[in-house]
Symmetry: none
Subunit: 222 residues, 2 copies
């Protein structure tokens, strides 16, 4: 968890990257109104993002995605190579899967659609500073759907009615143990292991160790 809770008094240092000059000025004005934020700089592109971040040591960066020369996602990656602390909020018009996930994978802390700026930006900045991750609701939905996918496969998947002993043995097998090692582990004879494994093969409709392990791991049976 980030540890960027500000001490009182100290204004929050912010840098803005966006190629639209009007927007940069609007943001600066909006943030200046509160008196709690100090705009260290605002830039139309990310050509010198590393130097700028290093020099100004901002607490928060507001980052557009679609900019000339270096796009915002690349810029986030560059920043994250040397700075894990700064809170980065993406401000963009893109609400498609690709942009959202690339940005979050790259290391962004929040993702706010531009249409919500006037409503939510101040709140979003407070969120990231207190360890939250502000996202427009539609973005959050995409993220959740993304994490649910593998599970929905899991739900539809049958478990082949393996007994608990058989699951145990399949698990040991999938971890790379030989019959002999499994027998030693479970304190039973190797022939018993063989019998269980024969039953497992029958139930999984496979004919060898390798097929069983492959199927077990791929279908997350273990």
């Amino acid at each position: 968890m980030p540890t960027s809770v500000k001490e009182k008094k100290m204004p929050v240092k912010i840098i803005i990257y966006d190629d639209n000059q009007n927007l940069r000025e609007s943001l600066s004005n909006l943030l200046a109104l509160t008196g709690e934020y100090s705009i260290m700089g605002s830039f139309a592109n990310c050509e010198n993002v590393e130097a700028e971040v290093l020099k100004m040591q901002p607490d928060v960066i507001l980052m557009d995605i679609d900019m000339p020369v270096v796009n915002g996602i690349e810029a986030v990656k560059k920043i994250r190579r040397f700075n894990e602390q700064v809170q980065i909020i993406i401000l963009t018009v893109f609400d498609d899967n690709t942009h959202v996930f690339e940005a979050l994978y790259a290391g962004a802390n929040g993702y706010l659609l531009k249409k919500y700026i006037s409503d939510k930006l101040i709140h979003a900045i407070q969120d990231v500073l207190t360890g939250g991750a502000p996202m427009s609701p539609s973005i959050a939905r995409m993220v959740i759907n993304n994490m649910q996918q593998p599970v929905q496969q899991a739900i539809s998947k049958s478990d082949y009615q393996l007994t608990s002993r058989e699951k145990e043995i399949l698990q040991l097998l999938a971890q790379g143990n030989s019959f002999k090692m499994i027998a030693a582990d479970l304190l039973i004879s190797i022939d018993t292991v063989r019998t269980h494994i024969k039953h497992i093969y029958d139930k999984l409709h496979v004919r060898s160790q390798i097929e069983a392990v492959s199927k077990a791991i791929n279908e997350k049976l273990v």
Copy 2:
């Protein structure tokens, strides 16, 4: 994306599950104030959740987690077996990883901490109905951190300097093919397959098929 946009006029049908009677009444009152919501029912436990949801066909369900008999996460799973449309918002005091992910995996659409109910509940209900996923900011942060993990593993992962032929053979092996089948597939002799596999074992530091396949799949080499 969900298609539960309500037509005007029709009030939004809501069911509440929470074992705290005071909270159930507070929620009902809060929602009744606006006149846009119709509380179809509120229950202290999920014993008959399936029948209730089937009968009342709610648009939104507000679900506590910690309830006697059937907990909220199990209830979400039960509901999702027959109803994909209803929007489920978890209302809970739990903000730990386990509860959050289990709930979202189970099929919840939003996750709101109880301390934010007065501030955010109305908004959260609007969110889920318009395809959003309301989450408390700290919850969103957990979700994002979770999705960033696998990538960081991926980056640090070594490739053991396998040649392309070796990777090809390892892949076929991990799909459950015997040496014989691999040889037939690649139109080479079984002894050649053996040799490649010997080299693979050396490079992966393993001594058997299963160990190699287990390592390959778990480290996403294939």
